[in-house]
Symmetry: C2
Amino acid sequence: MTEQPTGGDLSRLRQLNAVAVMRALRDDKPLTLTELARRTGLSRASTEDVARELIERGWVAEVEPTVGTVGRPARRYRFRADAGRVLGVDIGGHTIRALVTDLDGEVLHTSTVAVTPQLGRPERLTALDRCVISALAGARVTPGQIWSTGVATTGLVDGTGRVMLSDSLAEWTGVDLAEHLRRLVAAPVRVENDGKLAALAEAWRGVARHAKDVVFLLAGVRTGTGLIIDGKLHRGFGNAAGEIGALPAAGWLKAPDHLRAWSGGKDEFEDVFQAARDGDRAAVTAVRRYTRDIAVGVSALVLTLDPELVVIGGGFSRSADVMVQPLRDQLDRWCLRTPEIRISTFGGEGVAYGAVRLALEQVETALYEGTELPSATMAITAGRK
Amino acid sequence: MTEQPTGGDLSRLRQLNAVAVMRALRDDKPLTLTELARRTGLSRASTEDVARELIERGWVAEVEPTVGTVGRPARRYRFRADAGRVLGVDIGGHTIRALVTDLDGEVLHTSTVAVTPQLGRPERLTALDRCVISALAGARVTPGQIWSTGVATTGLVDGTGRVMLSDSLAEWTGVDLAEHLRRLVAAPVRVENDGKLAALAEAWRGVARHAKDVVFLLAGVRTGTGLIIDGKLHRGFGNAAGEIGALPAAGWLKAPDHLRAWSGGKDEFEDVFQAARDGDRAAVTAVRRYTRDIAVGVSALVLTLDPELVVIGGGFSRSADVMVQPLRDQLDRWCLRTPEIRISTFGGEGVAYGAVRLALEQVETALYEGTELPSATMAITAGRK
């Protein structure tokens, strides 16, 4: 029994096919037509047709045949990561960081500007502008060549890119970051909480990339979180998921006091972690008490979600080797099942990578849904190649 | 540019089409061919083809044309909810409940058997058997006519249907409920925690059916939970999600002590809720203190997930009118955003409905994936019609 699909069925099939080819090429090295057809489950004819269309649209390129191939060399196709550029920005209390990457997330340039949590709003925005302009210049791209921008900030962020609540940065509640950044870059700008984006980075290319459900801790003077549920960042109904630190019973607000007691009241903690590593008894006790307080809130997250992994990232992640065992001991005490605990390998760059990922997600949405990307950007001649 | 899809493309398209037609008919009243084609986006020819195949397989029936229709009456199709039967069982501390339903979840018969938490394992399993046999007899179906069985129990359950941990039912840890029930019903048997299944029932046909993210409380002498995330039941990596009650800081273990203080130490609480409703000052205080303790754990869940809804179900749900305001006051105090709070309308039957839903999910999976259902069951002549 054969059947000729109608126009409606065919155009749906066509779109599915284009998405399948793009995904296969994004996820892999260059593929021959035969490989691509096998990977996508499409016929050779359909695959060739889709590939031709994607080349016309600038997303896919043919690759030169490998030298030394025996017989007639097969054509190969690759995703054109250099077709566009994205920008990822992390606005932290002490550092603003901007990354320009290609569509594979390969970093072309990084800029950082030092700030303080006490800086006023205009001064922080000026530092932000300086950092972004420097990153664009360093990557040799114009603002119009940025296809998409992701921004990370401390605090709660609404769906339009405005900071709803920030109690750690001065004069930051109410600032409309999306609007502000659209003065510098024309393309879509999305803003998200820093803990959420650092979690996204771990799920994308970090230690959580093979895990479905993850509790991520942005551990520092303040503790933030990001939750990966079923492989996706969980935002919540009002974009306020993961804020368990606000509950006094979670123990996170007072936890750093144990470290401060050692450091003489200062919020500089590298020394106490180093001393604990060297076996200093008072430092070991301070770190254990800090971890015991943090562990109550972490246990609440773990008991709620039963994740596969707990990931420690953020400023303290470089010192997390001395935290892992005390944390595991406490989780063993409170939880029904203690998940694996891993330390982020991004150091201080996890949040910025997450912002890049947020920007790339916008590009992929546009790509897979067939919506238009900023038209000016199709004419890029890659600045660095 | 037209193109003839190959065999592989076509069979994939065919399966998608069958699923689209089944979903449209399951979700709606009987539909004409024209309506069905519009709903699914398929061509008339494809739709008719799929409908014919589904009729042959027993899933779909043609409906008699409406009397009095002007002109030649159009054929209409309906999903055959009477094609099979499912069984849902709730094994609680005080009641075992079994429902037999059709494939729409319409209840054909309910049986209940009274038990106690102290009952030993063999006695509880005997009571379970009695309840199931009575439900099958009441619905006039043979064990072989049950396509799928869902079972709810207190405690943690593993993926094979064994109770990993139960501290509220005597001798219950380690019992293999799936194996036990397969002696009575041949079809697939799945077992799940009662709080999780009651949450599933709310998302299916309860007060949470339009919500994406839900914190469900199975409120009773013990407090359980179920989490709906992104419209789906969240189980967790080890199927242990939602167990925040295990954390002493959550306040759930000691919360009922406030009610017991009023009831003279007994675990019978209808009177204290009624007295609070009537304005008895000591009862109002007892309920407020109970709610204040419960609210710490609920706040942890809300701050973690930022759900759209909190739903109160379980044994206390009939009395929850006196709990809602004190709970809201506490959530306002601890949470960044207090979600809407709603009371389940299932009374004591929510868990059993959830078990039915679990059974129906298995049927749907088989249906949509094209896997075989037990062959004997295709020959049902509906017992009750």
